[in-house]
């Protein structure tokens, strides 16, 4: 996302925050994403009642949806501020102090030399049956490619049965994903 420089870096980060909130508030939760800034870096995090994550009611029971993004806002040519997502984590957990059942992680930029794994991957505590042993998703870094938050919200509605907050949720997700 790029915005005119006159609006400044804080406004650019705030604009992205607003976009995420419009998306969330028309699909699965009325909780809001808040921005926390330090220098050029900004954390965007979904919070409810001050706590990380928001409750979503799935057909399998209550889960905590977490959304975290690290973004940078920097000046670029042609007097614009460019906002880049440098890291994201989306997860679903049964409670706030329990490891996530499913967790989508992604890093942009150079791969950390200490980790040979895919930089965009899926992990979690879900059990996996293998021919010789039982395992968990946490034992692997299942490659995913870049995952959009729109994909996670669609997964919540279409697969986990979360009741959408607005009847045009499908159009909202499609349009938002196309613009990403």
């Amino acid at each position: 996302m790029a915005v005119p420089q006159g609006r400044g870096r804080n406004a650019a980060a705030g604009g992205l925050c607003d976009q995420l909130n419009r998306l969330l508030n028309r699909t699965v939760t009325r909780a809001r994403v808040v921005a926390t800034r330090s220098g050029q870096q900004v954390n965007l995090e979904l919070r409810e009642g001050g706590q990380p994550g928001a409750v979503v009611r799935t057909r399998h029971g209550r889960l905590i949806l977490c959304l975290q993004q690290r973004i940078t806002a920097s000046d670029s040519a042609r007097s614009r501020v460019v906002v880049d997502t440098v890291r994201y984590r989306y997860s679903l957990a049964v409670d706030r102090d329990v490891d996530a059942l499913l967790r989508w992680d992604g890093h942009h930029g150079p791969r950390p030399t200490e980790h040979p794994y895919c930089t965009h991957h899926l992990q979690g505590t879900l059990a996996v049956e293998l021919p010789r042993a039982a395992a968990r998703l946490n034992d692997f870094h299942v490659p995913t490619g870049h995952v959009l938050i729109q994909d996670i919200l669609r997964f919540l509605v279409a697969d986990l049965g979360v009741r959408p907050l607005h009847q045009d949720w499908d159009r909202v997700l499609n349009e938002s994903a196309s613009a990403s």
Binding site: A35, S38, R70, R89, D97, D99, R103, Q123
Partner: protein, 66 residues
């Protein structure tokens, strides 16, 4: 976990001082039975649990270090 009013206000505004970010890390670490130093150390070691609270702490610690 109940956040102090000033911390909740700062979160809503999106304008937290470094001290407030540290305070938030400390409160969330307490929920996991950790103190601030232990939480920072676990994030640096890559051993912070991948729970909603652990993930929040991880991103906040990295933000302070950035």
């Amino acid at each position: 976990m109940t956040l102090p009013e000033d911390l909740r206000d700062a979160l809503e505004r999106g304008t937290m001082t470094e001290d407030q970010i540290r305070q938030l890390i400390e409160l969330e670490a307490l929920e996991l039975g950790l103190d601030y130093e232990q939480a920072v150390s676990m994030v640096k070691d890559g051993t912070m649990p991948a729970s909603p609270l652990g993930s929040s702490i991880e991103f906040l610690v990295e933000l302070l270090a950035a």
